[in-house]
Amino acid sequence: MSRKPKIAFYWCAGCGGCEESVIDMAEELLSVAEKADIVFWPIALDTRFEDVEALNDGDIDATFINGAIRLDEHVRVVQMLRRKSKRIIAHGTCAHLGGIIGLANLFDSRQLLECACRQVPGMDDPSAPLPETDPGDGQEGPTLAALLPEVKPLDRVVAVDAYIPGCPPTPETMAQAITDVIHGRLPEPGMVFAHRTALCRQCPRLDSKPDKIEITRFRRLYETHWDPEVCFLPQGLLCMGPVTRGGCDARCIRANMPCRGCFGPTERMNDFGSGAMALIASMMAGEDEATLARLVNSIADPTGLIYRYSLAASILGQGPGR
């Protein structure tokens, strides 16, 4: 059978970096367009929802969805794509764990709109209108999509077959995932396009990581001159390498930046934040409450640091009515 495989891409709530990870495949992308039918890719092609609706169920071989679920419209579209696709692949950290977008779950949606529309610097107008789903001019017509009460990772809304972690994923991983689909190798359910073990295993600085680390003060990058050859942790800089899934080729560390955890928890962990907390607590030097309190205070925004990418997937980021 010479049927070209069908693939689709969709963008929910995200920054666009994941789309970039596809574009960054560069010339390889042209061969993808040759060997596969890209039936839906709103950012790059003039494809319509109606075109997808018109397909038979299960017609699309694989759909890559990036971004977190933020709007009611996202739910509608991904449910439709789920029906039409053999495989749904969560593409990037926001679809995988909620990502940076998921930090919005520290607030309710009303607070978010107030902050965005009424309290931004230079616009201190308590009576400024908030976006409503109905424009309210009494006319029939398009309505705005509504914010959901909370941000959700993709797999809380539809069944997800495979995950490509990363903020954004590497173009190499994207190329591998797409080539697999083109050659008819659909990912096994539950597959993650990354390593099973922690980033530390592939870290170029692993040799300089001591067995026991004791930190007396956590530092932020701008507060210190750090040695670019030595493990970040003994220098008081928080690196999430020990609890983060490898597979990124230590991109940030090679650029002299500590890991921020975008690949999410390793295979044996449930909640990224719990692992990160266990890591950090084990390195805190101090035996009494006052010292420990001072040490914890030296961490800027602990919630944002520890749950930077995974708040929406954790119990802390979910509303009570889950």
Partner: protein, 142 residues
Amino acid sequence: MGTCKPKIVAFLCNWCAYDGADAAGRARLKIPSTVVEVRVMCSGQVDSGMVLNAFEAGAQGVMVLGCQPGDCHYKDGNVHAMKRMALLRAVLKPTRIDPRRIRLDWVSAGDGKRYARVAREMMDRIERLGPASGPPENEHQR
């Protein structure tokens, strides 16, 4: 109203706090009936994930009770507990789980009175805080 008491999970270390709870029972001291005791080998074993799981399973409060400082059966397990809970409290601050719902304390073996007092105090505190629900109360909008 108010007939159903909030559930509190108490992680008790095998060597001190569990024995303290046992002593409280033997002495027939009054302990709130919805305190669910979980026996662990050491308070230092209770990591943030276990505490969060208890909340996810519906607990309204969590106690971690270990040996008195300096008395740990494993030398410094309770210091580990101190580190973990200090960090967890800081992480919980802007979330929907109020850090006051976690109590770390020490109960010696045989000190039933202290166990009963800590459990009752915790129950009072949780009842005052009300159910852990609703959107996060958040003051860090700058």
